[in-house]
């Protein structure tokens, strides 16, 4: 799709691949809410050579313990326990929204600056490629894990590139005016990340939103929420200001409701199953926030044509037409 100038035409179009996309297969996830607490059978085989790594929530640039004081177990492909993540709740989301609002200065940083921070992120992920892939492989297998990291690095590059190029337009209406169509960030966006591609899915949704100056509260994949630990280390070492990206782990269906109902969240992106897409629309009826979902359809996040680009950037921005007198 070409420039945002054509927003009203675009309102009646859909990407052809998306219109024809099949429904997402039923969740195979055995972590999170889908886990049928099998704590008694699955014994966490403690590896005496490794120290357990405690993953926390990431709010306002700080690692935070959950309000609930509970954790949620995360299982690998063979039902082995990989670790635990905080069970976030309403209070944690509220703290995260507050932190995201406080970080709204991000919208005023130059796009050039945002691009540099994104490139820096790619550098840092590239440097840790192997360890991040290794940890991720327990949940999704080695092949997918390394593909996610490699594509993830490329995706960061894409949005670093877009950050200073997703420009507005100048319209020439038949009056003594021009209309400057500015692409402005929507504000604070709540994101429910895809279950099946924990790292690449997170990056594919959070990066376009952040690249154009929004702040985010993201709920990572319930399949492998441990990715949070790798992500915040990545953000912390890349000069991303605290509060621009906040991560709350937990049961995504519960956190979705809190995000959708929250009056200070400007948009909700929900890329999980069909029921979640419907829930995002229902819960946001009161505040009429913008809703962007996969409608429960499968998206091939590894395919550049589906997983990145203008379609996402378009949803991460809103157009402000500023009419100014011009000419004779």
């Amino acid at each position: 799709m070409a420039a945002t100038a054509k927003a009203d035409t675009a309102a009646y179009l859909e990407p052809t691949w998306f219109k024809n996309a099949p429904a997402l297969p039923a969740a195979k996830s055995i972590s999170g809410e889908n886990a049928n607490s099998e704590r008694q059978i699955a014994n966490p085989a403690l590896d005496p050579t490794e120290i357990d790594r405690t993953v926390k929530l990431y709010i306002g640039g700080k690692q935070a313990r959950p309000d609930s004081g509970y954790s949620m177990e995360v299982r690998g492909r063979n039902r082995e326990i990989l670790g635990e993540v905080p069970l976030g709740n309403r209070k944690d989301i509220r703290n995260a929204v507050e932190a995201a609002r406080k970080a709204s200065g991000w919208a005023k940083t130059t796009a050039h600056n945002r691009a540099q921070i994104l490139f820096y992120m790619a550098e840092n992920l590239s440097q840790r490629r192997d360890e991040v892939a290794h940890r991720l492989s327990h949940a999704v297998g080695e092949a997918q894990a390394s593909a996610e990291v490699n594509s993830g690095i490329e995706r960061i590059f894409s949005y670093a590139a877009w950050a200073d190029k997703f420009d507005g337009a100048v319209h020439n209406p038949p009056f003594r005016n021009i209309a400057i169509a500015m692409n402005e960030p929507i504000g604070t966006v709540g994101i429910i990340c895809p279950q099946e591609v924990p790292l690449l899915g997170f990056l594919s949704l959070v990066l376009p939103v952040v690249a154009v100056g929004n702040t985010v509260i993201a709920v990572p994949s319930e399949t492998y929420p441990l990715v949070t630990g790798d992500l915040y280390q990545l953000f912390d070492t890349s000069d991303l200001p605290g509060g621009v990206v906040n991560i709350v782990t937990g049961y995504s269906s519960q956190l979705l409701k809190v995000l959708a109902e929250h009056d200070d969240v400007d948009a909700i992106w929900c890329f999980a199953d069909e029921a979640s897409a419907f829930a995002a629309k229902s819960f946001s009826t009161g505040n009429l926030k913008q809703v962007f979902t996969n409608e429960g359809r499968a998206i091939d996040w590894f395919d550049v044509k589906q997983g990145e680009g203008r379609w996402f950037l378009h949803h991460a921005t809103q157009v402000k037409n500023i009419w100014v007198p011009y000419g004779e």
Binding site: T4, H171, F278, T285
Partner: protein, 475 residues
């Protein structure tokens, strides 16, 4: 008596536009209209009709079909059947149809303007010079997009069958904003015009027939809210596009939530009209007349909150009052009328109720001693000053010729006040300083900002709001 004095004392004589052709057109249809479905006129399945009246006289103009769920179903089926062929036409062929629609609107522009004024009550000056020319412009512009679609939107596809529900304040213009982009991109349409103002949509249906638009591409089903509800809930509609009140927008969001229907909403507003001390006050006053008294203030983006920098508040209010005295309220077909009739009794009551509430909450109400017509639905231009930012008249959309005025001291206070509603549709900024104007424009939460101008619309610029003013830069 000097020439200048003569000019000042001169009275306007009546200058009525002749309604004959529009009335003849109504007579040709026996003043009774069915639905336009699949290229033909159909009687409503339940056999029910309702009256549409001229708000400036209360006289009945015609009977119009009340759409039932069965009528909506027939229209959706026709649109669905027409969709594959319409979508697969070459872009150039679709462009030709749209170009023909634009041409036909132009050929019959005066009849459409008069019909609009009869049905809606807006001054003929507006329907003739604003509404109808913009309608033609919209179809020309989108005929162009139909032509360029594959080049500019490769890998994109039409949504399918689109249900469109439009308001009564700019009946034919809203129809154009909805139908033109939908058809250009290959969708087919079921449109429900507003209950108060169905006539120009029916005239447009006839135009579709005249230019040979394939049957089922555009279907017009008239009726009240229940007809709209049937359209929103129809399972075979792919997208709903709605322009109207925030309240109904919410109901539509709720009704479509458990479905894959796409949705765009263009809802209410309480748009600020910000005047800085360095503004050209005379221009600002003229802008304000257009901003709040265009179409009797029944405009979603009306500049209904006047924010004045404290230093110029007094002289500005004086100038506004002086200008208000010269506003002429009267029969909308009179070419020298500024303020026409309010669309329906229920709206008139609402305006009166909100103004009374504003006064009760402490606002000072001022109305010029304007001569008011003895019959019909009219409301005088009204200025509420000393309005508290949290009072009802500063927060709620009045949708009438009522201006709520308050003051600010600094640009940042102006921004704070301007953004202090649940809406975010439009804003005006008046300042001779480009720095002040653009600095403030950047911070306003609004989909449109007019700098030193107001209420300008064009097909090339998407229109839509932030926050509770809706989403999707739709038309």
């Amino acid at each position: 008596m000097s020439i200048a004095e003569k000019f000042a004392a001169m009275e306007y004589g009546p200058a009525l536009e002749d309604a004959k052709e529009a009335l003849t057109w109504l007579d040709q249809h026996s003043r009774r209209f069915g639905h336009f479905i699949n290229g033909t006129w159909l009687e409503p399945s339940a056999g029910e009709y309702f009256d549409t009246t001229d708000p400036s006289t209360g006289d009945k103009l015609a009977s119009v079909a009340q759409g039932s769920p069965a009528d909506i179903d027939a229209a959706v089926k026709a649109a669905r059947a027409a969709f594959p062929k319409w979508q697969s036409l070459t872009p150039h062929t679709r462009a030709r149809y749209m170009y023909a629609l634009a041409r036909q609107v132009q050929k019959h522009s005066r009849r459409l303007a008069v019909l609009e004024t009869l049905d809606n009550g807006k001054p003929i000056r507006e329907s003739r010079d604003l509404d109808i020319p913009l309608v033609a412009r919209h179809f020309y512009h989108h005929a162009g997009w139909a032509q360029l679609l594959p080049q500019e939107f490769p890998d994109y596809t039409a949504c399918g069958v689109v249900g469109q529900i439009i308001p009564w304040n700019f009946p034919l213009l809203m129809l154009a904003w909805k139908i033109a982009p939908a058809l250009a991109t290959g969708n087919t349409v079921v449109l429900k015009p507003a209950e108060f103002t169905p006539l120009t949509a029916l005239a447009f249906a006839e135009i579709c027939h005249e230019i040979g638009l394939p049957a089922g591409v555009v279907n017009i089903v008239t009726g009240d809210g229940s007809t709209g509800e049937a359209l929103v809930k129809h399972p075979d509609v792919d997208k709903i596009a709605f322009t109207g009140s925030t309240e109904v927008g919410r109901a539509i969001r709720s009704a479509t939530a458990q479905s894959h229907k796409r949705l765009s909403l263009e809802l209410g507003g309480k748009s600020p009209f910000i005047v800085f001390e360095d503004a050209d006050l005379d221009s600002a006053v003229e802008g304000l007349v257009d901003g709040i008294w265009l179409n009797q203030g029944q405009v979603c983006c009306a500049g209904s909150r006047l924010l004045m920098q404290e230093s110029i508040a007094e002289p500005l209010i004086a100038k506004i009052r002086e200008r208000m005295v010269t506003l002429r309220v009267g029969p909308p077909l009179d070419k020298a009328i500024d303020i026409g009739a309010i669309v329906a009794p229920v709206q008139l009551e609402r305006i009166q109720r909100l103004v009374n509430q504003g006064i009760a909450e402490g606002a000072t109400c001022w109305q010029p001693q304007t001569e008011m017509p003895s019959r019909g639905l009219y409301f005088p231009p009204t200025l509420l000053s000393n309005v508290h930012p949290t009072s009802m008249v500063a927060q709620q959309e009045i949708f009438g010729p009522v201006l709520a005025a308050m003051t600010f001291r600094t640009p940042s206070e102006a921004v704070e006040l301007a953004n202090n509603t649940a809406y975010g549709l439009a804003a005006c900024v008046w300042s001779e300083s480009i720095n002040v104007a653009l600095h403030v424009s950047a911070q306003l939460k609004a989909g449109v900002v007019w700098v030193n101008c107001t209420n300008l619309f064009d097909a090339s610029c998407g229109f839509g709001g932030y926050r509770e003013s809706g989403y999707g830069r739709v038309s």
